[in-house]
């Protein structure tokens, strides 16, 4: 599928959403308020304790905004198609995608692109702007490059996690639980990984590499030392995202092939 064709799908999807402008704006507002409240809580906490695991408020804000920003971008692409997949199998709508001469993965993502994450994006953007202006970051071409690459690559990691969960749910169980667990898990990466035990660190690094979307690159930016894993692994972020996304895409496609073999 060409990028132009992909954006054609997304454009139609946006226009569809705009048919229900009121509900759409209300949804944005509700989500925005939710996140703003969360930031306020963290800020209040830090006001009392000054630092979490040695991270000051601007540094935590950087982590937090990276987490929300990458989730918002990743989820805008894959959240709706993946959570709706099981229902699409039941209703047979998946079949309408399979009879098209385009890649089903990209077709679905384009068809179900979710603009509802706009408020996350605005909020995270604002917090991040403030954080990078305030946090003690040594701005060099390398650190600027790392930050930009982290947003792109981190979004892929988040999109890939949702894709893998979608594949799983679609193959085995009607489990909303998994998406809910992911929602909770992604909160972990809003905090310095050092405050967690060894097992969460290993999980978030090697199994579901979400820490590459936030903690590791942020630690490099603010010159923080490594924890269980050495600090330099943050430089792997630009590679981790595309590779993990590719794995997720292949897994999803294999899931579809299985569906074709077994029937819905």
């Amino acid at each position: 599928m060409t990028p132009a064709l992909f954006w054609h799908h997304v454009r139609l999807r946006l226009r569809e959403r705009m048919e229900y402008r009121g509900a759409f704006l209300l949804g944005l507002l509700a989500q925005g308020i939710g996140y703003a409240a969360e930031i306020a809580v963290i800020w209040l906490l830090l006001h009392r304790f000054e630092a979490i695991a040695g991270w000051m408020w601007p540094e935590i804000a950087l982590l937090y905004s990276l987490s929300v920003l990458t989730y918002a971008i990743g989820a805008a692409f894959t959240y709706s198609p993946m959570t709706e997949l099981e229902q699409m199998v039941q209703r047979g709508t998946l079949e309408t995608v399979l009879v098209k001469p385009t890649d089903p993965f990209w077709t679905l993502i384009g068809q179900r692109f979710n603009v509802g994450y706009l408020s996350h994006l605005l909020l995270a953007g604002t917090v991040m702007t403030w954080a990078i202006a305030t946090a003690p970051i040594d701005w060099t071409p390398a650190s600027v490059g790392l930050l930009v690459a982290t947003v792109a690559s981190g979004s892929m990691i988040q999109a890939a996690v949702l894709t893998l969960i979608g594949t799983w749910a679609f193959r085995f169980t009607r489990s909303w639980t998994l998406f809910a667990i992911n929602g909770q898990a992604s909160r972990f990466i809003r905090f310095p990984i050092g405050i967690f035990g060894i097992i969460p660190q290993i999980l978030l690094t090697l199994v579901i590499p979400l820490a590459f979307a936030t903690y590791y690159p942020a630690a490099i930016l603010i010159s923080e030392d490594g924890q269980l894993f050495p600090g330099w692994i943050g430089w792997l972020t630009p590679v981790v995202g595309p590779v993990f996304m590719w794995v997720a895409y292949r897994t999803w496609t294999r899931g579809i092939d299985r569906y074709q073999g077994a029937g819905g």
């Binding site: 132009a4 064709l5 054609h8 799908h9 139609l12 226009r15 569809e16 048919e19 229900y20 209703r91 047979g92 709508t93 079949e95 309408t96 399979l98 009879v99 098209k100 001469p101 385009t102 890649d103 085995f172 169980t173 009607r174 489990s175 639980t177 074709q260 073999g261 077994a262 029937g263």
Partner: protein
């Protein structure tokens, strides 16, 4: 050269048995009990370019499953399928650009947008040259009377209007084969007629090969000279509709509702089948003349409120076909059990 060849085709569905109750999802995951159910079994036929074939059978016969294998959505369990020279599931996307698919029960249009938006996207998805697209769109618009409908959001269309749009869209890229799975389901007579007319025209004028599934015999009579009848996954008839009709007999049922109970009626060309006072059902010869003769002679002496005709239902066809084979019709409740299934614990 056949455009579609199907030989000894079979499809088993494997279903993972879901365990309900506490920790159901987790237990489902670890027990992996599955059942196998045969939906299509040992079906063979071939179809020549330009044919219009009706694929009929009662609910659950395996019609949709066959269509899904022909369109590459599902991989056959046994046997072989060849469509346009390739195995559809191996070349699903290449195959997709040469076929058109319409599902009676699921829309391929963008629900909240004007129909034309879906058409435009279709043009890009199938990479149709602009002139060809415009020509085809205008031709379908004319034949199906779409007119203003193209500017209306899909959600505002009636089912019949929507189906006409679905049909037009499926033809925009000028597919060599058009697959239709129950395209007339739930439509009123007028909408059905319009769709049947259109399909006949497309088949004659463009030479588009049409495979149409239905459980409504009238669909077939008007569009398809050839029919394939399946029941419980197996093929039981493949041939001309004319000879099937000959087997079905030459009579049809006419039910008449009278304004008042006319008492016993005797007419030479009609046999009384059932008598419920004001409502009587007769068997008459199929020809238009004899039907009209019966009706006018009855109506001249007794005020008539309503008249309806019943064509033989698909179940009657199946019964007749089994009778012709000298077999009994399989018990229908056998169908509903997992009779052909077996439980496999991995």
């Amino acid at each position: 050269m056949s455009i579609i060849t199907v030989s000894h085709l079979g499809k088993d569905y494997r279903q993972i048995r879901r365990i309900d109750g506490r920790f159901g999802a987790v237990r489902t995951l670890f027990t992996r009990q599955s059942m196998t159910r045969t939906a299509v079994d040992d079906i063979s036929f071939s179809i020549e370019p330009g044919e219009a074939v009706g694929y009929i059978g009662p609910n659950g016969a395996g019609k949709s499953t066959t269509i899904k294998m022909l369109t590459g959505i599902l991989v056959p369990t046994r046997g072989a399928v060849e469509v346009l020279g390739v195995e559809p599931h191996r070349h699903r996307r290449r195959n997709a650009s040469r076929i058109g698919v319409v599902f009676g029960q699921r829309s391929q249009l963008w629900w909240d947008l004007p129909v034309i938006e879906s058409f435009e996207l279709h043009r890009h998805v199938y990479d149709i040259p602009p002139e060809r697209y415009r020509a085809m769109r205008d031709r379908c618009t004319e034949l199906l009377g779409l007119g203003d409908l193209l500017q209306s959001p899909v959600r505002q269309l009636s089912l019949g209007q929507r189906m006409r749009c679905e049909l037009a869209m499926a033809l925009l890229h000028q597919p060599e084969i058009l697959f239709l799975d129950e395209p007339t389901i739930g439509l009123d007579i007028e909408a059905k007629d319009r769709i049947r007319d259109f399909l006949r025209t497309v088949n004659r004028e463009q030479g588009t090969t049409i495979i149409l599934t239905t459980h409504d015999l009238a669909d077939i009579e008007e569009i398809c000279p050839r029919i394939i009848v399946i029941n419980r996954g197996g093929l039981i008839y493949d041939g001309a509709i004319q000879s099937l009709k000959a087997q079905l007999g030459s009579q049809r049922q006419v039910t008449i509702d009278f304004e008042d109970d006319p008492g016993p009626i005797t007419i030479s060309q009609a046999t009384l089948l059932s008598d419920q006072g004001r409502r009587k059902t007769f068997a008459v010869e199929r020809s238009v003349e004899s039907t009209l003769a019966v009706l006018s002679s009855i109506a001249s002496s007794h005020p008539v409120q309503d008249v309806s005709f019943a064509e033989p239902a698909i179940e009657d066809v199946i019964r007749t076909l089994y009778a012709g084979l000298g077999k009994a019709v399989p018990e229908s409740d056998e169908l509903d059990r997992w009779s052909r299934g077996r439980v496999v614990t991995q």
